[in-house]
């Protein structure tokens, strides 16, 4: 038993086995998801006409606001492309996304993982970035056929390269095991970083696309006795509330996605969402 634990932890020999067997446990998560589905159905079905009307109006207003923003975005994006051409830089592309639904939360209280209802059949792959409407949530670490596991950015084994949106200072944001805080690693004492700064993904490390909001700096402690600053940041994504997540496909991979149709149908949603999340032009 102890040998099994050690082999499982320090080698990746058991990974293929786990992937094969992952399909067997999906039904359990589907069963435990039933109450929340019933609840969703109840909310959708037993709702008054007046409430629906109110919600419809609120949504229309919101849509109008977003459309106004999009109008500006189009010209800004065009301008960005022209400037990049002037600079001979590579063109930035919009990413495509696939909407996924959360069906379970890892029961292990020490790890921050969630289970979503998309798997290899929908084109999900290991290392795929996952967003919600507010920012970056994490990455896919295990892919089954119809479900996969997402490691959240707040997990203590997770780290993500970020940069400060204000001035481009780069850092690594590590999970702390607390849902509401990330800590920045090895930030030297004279770095220009302060509370309120937005941290966006820097795209270094080639796993996460550039420019998605990751966290907001809450607190910077300058302790003269320590070599580095202690920087605490709060994740922008609602790690414990969002039920609808977005799987990001970078454009160069799109040809290889089997569910390409469903991907392209949400392409329009992609631009709307990225503007809502105030990230202009992710991807490479």
């Amino acid at each position: 038993m102890v040998v099994l634990v050690v082999v499982g932890l320090y080698t990746d020999r058991l990974e293929p086995l786990r992937e094969k067997l992952a399909q067997a446990v999906t039904p359990f998560y589907q069963i435990t998801d039933v109450p929340s589905r019933v609840n969703d159905w109840r909310k959708d079905t037993f709702v008054s006409h007046a409430d629906l009307k109110l919600e419809n109006e609120a949504l229309k207003t919101e849509l109008l606001i977003h459309q106004r923003k999009l109008q500006q975005l189009a010209s800004l994006a065009a301008e960005n492309v022209r400037l990049r051409q002037l600079l001979n830089a590579s063109q930035m592309l919009q990413d495509t996304v696939l909407i996924a639904e959360l069906i379970g939360v890892s029961p292990n209280p020490l790890s921050h993982k969630v289970i979503i209802n998309r798997g290899s059949k929908d084109g999900a792959f290991k290392g795929q970035p996952v967003l919600d409407a507010f920012g970056l949530m994490g990455q896919v670490i295990e892919v089954g056929e119809t479900s996969s596991t997402v490691l959240l950015i707040s997990d203590p084994t997770h780290a993500i390269p970020v940069q400060v949106n204000r001035n481009g200072v780069r850092a690594i944001a590590e999970g702390t095991g607390d849902l509401n805080s990330l800590s920045l690693r090895h930030v030297s004492a004279n770095t220009d970083i302060r509370a309120g700064d937005l941290l966006v993904s820097s795209g270094l490390g080639e796993r996460f696309p550039t420019g998605y909001p990751v966290a907001e700096v809450l607190q910077v402690v300058r302790d003269p006795g320590k070599a580095f600053l202690t920087v605490i940041a709060q994740p922008m994504a609602r790690l414990d509330r969002s039920r609808h997540l977005l799987l990001v496909f970078e454009n160069r991979d799109r040809a290889s996605v089997p569910g390409a149709l469903s991907v392209t149908t949400v392409e329009a949603a992609s631009s709307a969402v990225s503007s809502a999340a105030s990230s202009v032009g992710g991807g490479r």
């Binding site: 038993m1 102890v2 099994l4 634990v5 050690v6 499982g8 932890l9 058991l14 786990r18 067997l21 992952a22 067997a24 446990v25 359990f28 998560y29 069963i31 435990t32 998801d33 929340s36 379970g104 939360v105 890892s106 029961p107 292990n108 209280p109 020490l110 790890s111 921050h112 993982k113 295990e142 596991t149 997990d155 203590p156 084994t157 095991g177 849902l179 790690l239 414990d240």
Partner: protein, 161 residues
């Protein structure tokens, strides 16, 4: 109607299935520490109920399935299950005569032991633990014990004999 022996096996399998489902029932992130160790408590009940027919291989398989289900390193739960099962087999003659609340106290100790091994494995996997939070599941499991044994007693009396 099934034979009493088959009936009993069916109840055992059903209780473990229910325990497995409860062990992955989604809880809010901050509440997860309070989830009782359902599978372990049910396993302890059956070991006390029929200590001479315990199969350690089956317990290992059960633990491995739970590891797969919860997405933790393989062997974490089987290790805890096997250690606790061994202690149970050494102690069942005394513990069966305890009052229900003394049994609960004993469950607290057993689940605490399993939590220790769980957290060793988690610590090796890079998720070290700080504080005494790991005893919360032991506490809730001890509180669950009277309800669990009442339910399983009822099941076995109604369908087994």
């Amino acid at each position: 109607m099934l034979s009493p022996q088959l009936n009993l096996y069916f109840i055992v399998a059903l209780s473990f299935l229910v325990a497995l489902v409860l062990s992955v029932y989604p809880l809010p992130m901050d509440m997860r520490w309070w989830r009782p160790e359902f599978v372990l408590v049910v396993a302890i009940y059956w070991i006390f109920f029929m200590p001479l027919t315990v199969s350690f291989t089956l317990l290992c398989v059960l633990g491995l399935f739970q590891d797969l289900l919860e997405g933790v390193p393989f062997g974490q739960h089987s290790l805890g299950l096997v250690i606790v099962a061994y202690i149970c087999i050494l102690s069942y003659q005394r513990v069966r005569n305890f009052s229900i609340w003394r049994q609960s106290g004993w469950i607290f100790v057993l689940v605490g032991v399993a939590q220790l091994t769980d957290n060793w494995v988690q610590g090796m996997a890079g998720r070290p633990l700080s504080g005494v939070q790991f005893l919360y599941p032991a506490l809730t499991s001890a509180l669950l014990w009277p309800a669990c044994s009442w339910w399983l007693n009822g099941m076995t009396h109604r369908y087994h004999h």
